[in-house]
């Protein structure tokens, strides 16, 4: 009886255990796809490729890695240290930034500006490479040949633009494309990166000109691009790449193929009907972060170096207490600096808007920055050109919404003009290009051939300072290539500590007590 009972009990237990013992432990993650799922479906490929472009745009527009460059270049100013934009902009007692080299150390929060762009651009490059691998190596096809070609070209544009950004910002990087072997991947120096990007832009231009398509407006939020525009954009980017690559005035003089810049710019986004490469921000997935911070009167200001250019009489540089009075600039972009209504933004120290209000800049009596961080960081001029979707609605100051340029037509105009000047071209043509903003937007006396190369260059640089504010890393690159950065300010970024750590490579840095940039590659 005892054993019978035991046997029955054991049998019951065994049966239940046997039934219960076979759960499926291979749980699928339904929340996020893996690469196989994301890339195996032709319909999903477009999302990956357009996502590569979106990632590039958001990285180009992000504060991390750009806002600090703006303050280092003394284009914008802020005493807040969000995105380390104050730490790297501070000036030592001896007037240098010899203690402000990149802190490329995993134990320092100041490493983040070096890390952010690197991560973002390689993320974009990788997504683009996935598309090119799927199409060119795995022969994946979308619903139509045109659709396949369209995403292939847009992906290659994102890939080239990412290589461009690495070539412009870092001393070296990886060239990643569909032929890459990660096991043997090595760094390419900044010249090799530049040349690789240029070649890839050339390929984009060729392909875009050979095909006909229009991209959906969701790919660059709010804007569709035709194949012609893609080719124009690749031309502008190539001109930008070559012109902005120099880390020093010497490189600017000796290491730029200005004829090529002229060629590319003449086919760029301001050739024919000028258009801005722009997107509509939504404060989330399309994030015009630099404009959010520096088109808000109480978070960021225009550096007095630039404000002084707009109105040398009233806007003193450096700033001294009690601060700079209301301007009376001949430049319509600043005008009298009035903005809004008396009760619109209490506490902003603004002057109610008059008929002479500026379109791009406004004055505030309030010294918003912490005095202890140095009065030299104060400014009474704010950039309001993109404030609140261009309507100057105070409720949108923190909105991060609305249309903002990524690379404006003016970028191309000014590169074109500079290339004409530097190749001893027709100065009248250069002056016309400069006047497109100088006269039309600024209301200033036109530049003419009579200004000569030097005079035109000065006016061109003024337009660069005023028109290109907040446009990715461009303001800083314009300063470094004329040796305009304060001594000790780094001119380029090292490979981030995070990347070096993956391979156990030694940490290194630029700027501060180190050289400001790597030697010119042969």
């Amino acid at each position: 009886m005892r054993f019978s009972k035991l046997a029955r009990f054991s049998a019951a237990v065994t049966a239940i255990v046997a039934i219960g013992c076979r759960p499926n432990l291979d749980v699928v993650n339904p929340n996020a796809p893996d690469a196989k799922r994301a890339l195996s479906d032709p319909a999903a490929l477009e999302a990956v490729g357009s996502g590569a472009l979106r990632t590039w745009i958001n990285t180009w527009s992000a504060c991390t890695g750009n806002c600090n460059l703006d303050t280092q270049a003394q284009s914008y100013t802020a005493s807040w240290n969000n995105f380390q934009m104050n730490f790297y902009a501070q000036i030592d007692a001896d007037g240098t930034r010899n203690t402000r080299g990149w802190q490329n150390d995993p134990a320092s929060s100041n490493r983040l500006p070096v890390e952010g762009p690197w991560t973002g651009y390689y993320q974009a490059m990788s997504s683009a490479t996935d598309i090119l691998t799927a199409i060119r190596k795995n022969n994946l096809k979308l619903a139509t040949p045109d659709a396949t070609k369209r995403i292939e070209i847009v992906s290659e544009l994102a890939q080239a633009a990412s290589e461009m950004a690495i070539a412009l910002m870092y001393d070296k990087g990886y060239i990643v494309d569909e032929t890459v072997d990660f096991a043997t991947l090595t760094y390419s120096n900044r010249k090799q990166m530049r040349d690789a990007a240029r070649a890839r832009f050339d390929e984009v231009i060729t392909l875009a000109n050979a095909n006909s398509f229009t991209t959906p407006s969701s790919w660059v939020n709010g804007f569709s691009l035709t194949n012609t525009q893609i080719a124009q954009l690749a031309n502008t980017m190539n001109a930008l790449l070559l012109a902005m690559w120099p880390r020093t005035a010497a490189e600017n003089a000796n290491n730029v193929d200005w004829a090529a810049v002229l060629n590319y710019a003449s086919k760029g986004i301001s050739s024919g009907t000028a258009w801005d490469f722009a997107f509509v921000g939504n404060n989330d997935t399309w994030y015009p972060e630099t404009y959010c911070w520096f088109n808000s009167m109480d978070t960021g200001r225009v550096h007095t170096r630039v404000a002084n250019m707009l109105d040398p009489v009233t806007q003193k540089h450096p700033w001294v207490r009690p601060g700079n009075p209301q301007p009376n600039s001949a430049d319509k972009r600043l005008g009298d600096g009035s903005f809004g209504t008396a009760d619109m933004i209490p506490g902003f120290g603004n002057v109610p808007k008059t008929a002479n209000a500026g379109t791009d800049f406004a004055w505030s009596g309030q010294a918003i920055f912490n005095a202890a961080r140095g009065d030299y960081q104060q400014s009474n001029i704010a950039h309001i050109r993109y404030d609140a979707t261009g309507t100057q609605d105070p409720s949108g100051i923190y909105g991060c919404n609305g249309r903002v340029p990524i690379i404006s037509a003016t970028v191309n105009d000014l590169l074109w003009a500079e290339a004409i000047i530097r190749t001893n071209g027709n100065l009248a043509t250069a002056a016309t290009l400069i006047n497109k903003t100088r006269v039309t937007r600024g209301g200033l006396p036109p530049a003419t051939a009579a200004d000569g190369a030097a005079g035109l260059t000065a006016k061109l640089q003024y337009e660069q300072e005023v028109e290109l504010l907040g446009m990715g890393p461009i303001p800083q690159m314009n300063r470094r290539r004329v040796d305009g950065l304060i001594t000790g300010t780094p001119a380029e970024m090292p490979v981030p500590a995070k990347e070096l750590g993956v391979f156990g490579q030694p940490l290194y840095s630029w700027g501060g007590s180190n050289p400001r940039n790597s030697p010119t590659p042969p």
Binding site: V17, C21, N29, L185, S218, N283, D284, A371
Partner: protein
């Protein structure tokens, strides 16, 4: 009426069983007798023969009676045991024979709880005297005087090696955190596995009330917790809720406890009441041509504000704390039950908010179907609502930036409360009128929790028991945040409002089958248990956010704007987890003096990488009761014990997977998958000694050596791959803990009783191996990997765990010389002067407006160093229970010596000169420092040693005073049949002595990660004091 029916039914059932028993009386031995302690009969004591699985529970008058079928057993010698909670068990040897056996027991009170029986981590219920490892036990006696809102908080100061902190927030409705011994994870939390009445619960303890707890057992590491496998490296806390099983036969117990009182902040953070600006003769600020204040030439903050408002007093309040608790239990024949209801209301210390309220219901039923089959079931339902302030960006942050001349109780321009527009120069987006925020924003959470348990035990043989269990746990929560259209920021810009709602549903169940064999042999007894456990969990969440609203006063998504600039953003996830586990554990009890134990467990989990689905754990332990062989004068018990065990930590749910995030409809590479991801592997060796001497004293000492390898870390990968990170097994964290528990009964007289317990521990932790590059972690990032401001704790091989990294200010001549030698400073040491505050400054700037502290740099120019260690030197708690006649006083006092806290709550507003250190008015004129001097310490909000503060404290955690009213009072109340009544006064977090400058040194950072390793003060809801009045009625 219902009670009467119930009584009749139970009586009928009992009679029927008695008749059945009588039919077989001829072959039976009937055991009967009385159990008492001194001259007091002990109801609810259990008397039985464990090896035969028979026994009975005594009635209120201490009498018991049970029958044993002696057929086939006649002449066999068996052990009859009598035991009762709080008393030392007694045994008698009896030779079985048909007929009546009279056995009376006189049990001695176990005032030091030396004879407690535990079930956690062992093969079968075992006396702590025979354990090869340490088990902390906290019983209802230690919890009932000052029950905490949640069970985990109740453990503070009561178990050596257990650290309890308020966690990310002390906001009512939040849950504290607990860590047992040393940490096991470099970047994850150290939460122990928690089991409530057999339910493996991963849905939090905030819903559970402490009054229901019968007993808590705590095992603190792999040396004891191997039985629980891959989720047990952090130890196990097993909670048992009240059942009717401990009542005397026929007894009904009713307890009605009401507690009403107040909560308030015992301390405010200091406010700077002086500034550095010039004043007009009338005391108002002098302004320049642009309307800005004019700094004084000396920049010294020694001018008073024209007017001062006590903003702390306006924001914080005295609030209500109320608990109503009713429990009913009864035992009658084969059935017993316990039911309870708790109503909790805690409004918290922030004005305007309604705080937290909760209603809990619990029912536990046990029924004996036959001598060989019994079943148990339980159900718990809890419902709560919380009206809180969001922690991130909360009003507690914004108010720290307010100048003291701002009247936050003033109305808005349109007459509505409260003044939102703060015209405080310089303009700052950080400033918030907390009262406006509290009155306009809403953040409400509603939670429902249901737990159901079922267990059946069947004894087919005297020596064999089978057990099947099914435990189900479900939690549903909905959190809604609403900001109305027109909400003003401090600049006066109106917002277009926002709305977000997150709904979470979690379901888990665990089920298992267990076979336990107990065989007594000539010189040893073996207990062997084999088990299969299956765990299943499904977590689901849906979240929707509308970034702008179009229709005012509508709090649902119908009001949401939904355009390109203001999209409605949905999000959701589903996470299924399955685990199956097998184990076998065997214990040899050799002549009651040597106990050997071993186990093997195999876990298979869907959380492990696809190529690493299984992991095996084991344990061996031994206990030797020395005094069984060697009598020592004055020593009642001397036990040596040693245990070695392994256990694991399961990877986070999504760690193994390759993951591409979907951003704006496009996949973006984030995490490289790792099919070889394993659970972290923790090995612990524990040695200990348990001594009882002079009857009334006990010492328990344990030493634990933990090593947790295969750390589960989220590490960067080369950006060339496009991925950002991957989870790998890399690194080893070692920890050593010394634990000491002392117990002493200082007085035991007829009218006076005084017992004191001391629990002390010291833990040291070190990262012994790290196969990836050093990195920083902190609390406000997922698994400590985020790039938030609080990411200041360095993980590097050879470093202690819990090290704060940052800059140092030069305070010694050596630092000065090194900095100069490294060329980070010019001149010679003679060019610098040590100032009144202990910092070196340039002599040329000393006592001028330019005086500033100097940053230390080593010979290589490095300015980042270890600046603090969060680990306390030791923790010590003293619990005291004193009773004199009808009065009783109980208390818990904790002393935490050492351990640093990084005070961001002080550092961030330091930039706005909000710290009282700026106020120079009390200093001699010559020693006054300019505001820029202190501004330098702000250090761009990067960490520096200026804000590393000593977290030492002495804290009166609990103090209660009760008076037992005369019986006539209770009877005179004419409320039910109450026979006893107590009134009391209870204080919680009553007094803290500390030099810490924040609200309370019991603080840890926001968000995720390890609250014990990431000790940062970051604007979180502060720990507060509560004092309540108690009326406790019962019979």
């Amino acid at each position: 009426m219902i009670a009467a029916v119930w009584r009749r039914s139970v009586a009928a059932g009992a009679t029927a069983l008695a008749l059945l028993a009588g039919a077989a009386g001829a072959q039976n031995a009937t055991f009967q007798g009385t159990v008492k302690s001194g001259d007091q009969p002990l109801g609810g004591a259990s008397v039985g023969i464990p090896e035969l699985g028979v026994g009975a529970v005594t009635s209120v008058d201490g009498k018991y009676n049970f029958t044993v079928n002696v057929a086939g057993r006649s002449g066999r010698t068996v052990t009859v045991m009598a035991k009762a909670i709080g008393y030392k068990p007694k045994v008698m040897q009896v030779t079985l024979a048909a007929g009546q056996v009279q056995k009376d027991f006189d049990l001695e009170r176990d005032v030091l709880n030396l004879e407690q029986v535990v079930v956690t981590g062992v093969s079968e219920a075992t006396s702590t005297r025979k354990l090869g490892f340490s088990v902390g036990v906290v019983d209802a006696e230690a919890l009932k005087e000052a029950p905490a809102t949640t069970p985990l908080a109740s453990l503070a100061g009561k178990v050596a090696g257990a650290e309890v902190t308020v966690g990310a927030s002390a906001q009512p409705g939040s849950e504290p955190s607990i860590r047992l011994r040393a940490a096991t994870s470099l970047t994850g939390r150290s939460d122990p596995l928690i089991i409530v009445d057999g339910t493996i619960t991963r849905l939090g303890m905030a819903d559970i009330n402490s009054e229901d707890i019968e007993r808590v057992e705590v095992i603190k590491g792999a040396a004891a917790s191997s039985l629980y496998g891959s989720d047990a490296a952090n130890g196990v806390i097993q909670i048992f809720t009240r059942r009717g099983a401990n009542l005397a036969e026929g007894q009904r117990m009713v307890n009605l406890r009401n507690e009403v009182g107040s909560s308030w902040l015992p301390k405010f953070i200091g406010v700077n009441q002086a500034h550095e600006f010039e004043l007009n003769p009338d005391g108002s600020f002098k302004l320049d041509a642009n309307g800005n204040r004019i700094p004084k030439a000396d920049r010294i903050a020694d001018n008073p504000y024209p007017v001062y408002y006590d903003q702390n007093d306006a924001v914080f309040r005295k609030s209500l704390k109320m608990t109503n608790y009713l429990s009913i239990g009864e035992r009658r024949g084969p059935t017993n039950f316990a039911a309870s209801f708790q109503n909790e209301k805690e409004t918290g210390v922030l004005r305007i908010l309604n705080g937290y309220s909760r209603q809990n219901f619990r029912l536990n039923v046990d029924h004996k179907l036959s001598d060989r089959l019994d079943v148990s079931a339980g159900a718990f339902y809890g419902k709560s609502s919380a009206d809180q302030t969001p922690e991130a960006g909360s009003v507690l942050f914004g108010m720290r930036f307010l100048e003291p001349n701002i009247n936050i109780e003033a109305p808005n321009a349109d007459g509505t409360p409260y003044n939102a527009v703060i015209k405080q120069p310089p303009a700052s987006g950080n400033v918030v009128n907390p009262l406006y925020g509290l009155s306009q924003d809403s953040h409400n959470t509603f939670r429902d929790r249901f737990t159901g348990t079922f267990k059946a035990r069947w004894r087919p043989m005297d020596w064999l028991t089978g057990e099947a269990n099914f435990n189900y746990d479900e939690s549903a929560a909905s959190t809604k945040d609403f900001r109305p259209i027109g909400y003003l920021n401090s600049s006066g810009s109106p917002s277009s409002g926002s709305l977000s709602q997150t709904t979470t549903n979690n379901h888990t169940y665990n089920t298992g089958l267990t076979l336990t064999a107990i065989r007594a042999f000539k010189w040893f007894t073996n207990t062997t248990k084999a088990a299969y456990v299956y765990e299943d969990q499904l977590d689901q969440q849906v979240a929707i956010t509308a970034s702008a609203l179009t229709v005012p006063k509508v709090t649902e998504f119908a009001a949401a704007a939904n355009d390109a600039a203001h999209p409605v953003t949905p999000g959701s996830f589903t996470q299924a987890t399955r685990n199956q586990n097998y184990f076998i554990v065997s214990t040899f009890d050799i002549k009651d003096k040597l106990v050997l134990d071993g186990l093997v467990r195999r876990d298979e989990s869907s959380l492990f990488g696809a190529k690493q689905r299984g992991a095996t754990y084991h344990r061996v332990s031994a206990a030797y009761r020395l005094t069984e062989d060697f009598k020592m004068r004055g020593v009642d018990e001397f036990k040596l014990r040693a245990s070695y065990g392994t256990a694991g930590l399961r990877p986070p749910w999504d760690a193994q997977y390759e993951q591409l995030a979907i951003r704006a409809g496009s996949p973006v590479k984030i995490t490289l998958g790792n099919p070889n991801l394993k659970p972290a592997f923790s090995k612990e060796t524990e040695f200990g000694v348990d001594i009882q001497f002079l009857r009334d004293f006990s010492i328990n000492y344990s030493y634990s050596d933990k090593k947790t390898s295969d750390q589960i870390l989220n590490v960067p990968v080369s950006s060339a791959t496009g991925y950002q990170n991957t989870w790998v097994n890399a690194g080893t964290l070692a920890g050593q803990t010394h634990e000491l528990a002392l117990g002493a009964v200082l007085i035991t007289k007829r009218d006076v009783f005084w017992r004191v317990n001391v629990a002390a521990d010291r833990t040291r932790q070190k990262i012994t191996e790290l196969s990836v590059a050093p990195f920083l972690v902190g609390p406000n990032g997922v698994n400590g990997t985020g790039d938030g401001n609080t990411r200041i704790f360095r993980i590097a091989a050879g470093e202690p765990f819990g090290i704060i990294y940052g800059s140092k200010w030069i305070r010694t001549k050596e630092q000065l010389a090194t900095t100069i030698a490294g060329k980070a400073l010019g001149g010679t040491v003679n060019d610098y002067t040590l100032n009144e505050e202990g910092y070196y400054v340039a002599t040329s700037a000393y006592h001028t407006v330019n005086e500033k502290p100097l940053k230390y740099a080593d010979s290589t120019g490095n300015t980042l160093f270890a600046i603090g260690d969060v680990n306390p030197d030791f923790s010590l708690s003293l619990s005291s229970a004193f009773q004199y006649k009808s009065f009783s006083i109980n208390g818990v006092l904790s002393w935490n010596k050492g351990g640093k806290i990084y005070n961001y709550t002080r550092q961030w507003p330091f930039n706005e000169e909000r710290d009282p250190v700026y106020d120079q008015r009390s200093k001699p004129q010559a020693e006054r420092k300019p505001a820029p001097y202190y501004q330098t310490f702000y250090n761009n909000f990067d960490p520096s040693d200026y804000f590393v503060e000593d977290g030492s404290y002495v804290k009166v955690r609990e103090l209660s005073l009760y008076y037992q009213l005369p019986r006539a009072f209770a009877q005179g109340l004419r409320v039910g049949d109450f026979q006893t009544a107590r009134i009391g006064l209870v204080g919680r977090n009553l007094l803290t002595i500390s030099d810490y400058k924040g609200f309370d040194p019991d603080v840890s950072g926001p968000g995720g990660g390890n609250p014990f390793a990431y000790r940062v003060d970051y604007f979180t809801y502060p720990n507060y004091r509560t004092v309540t009045f108690v009326l406790d009625l019962g019979y």
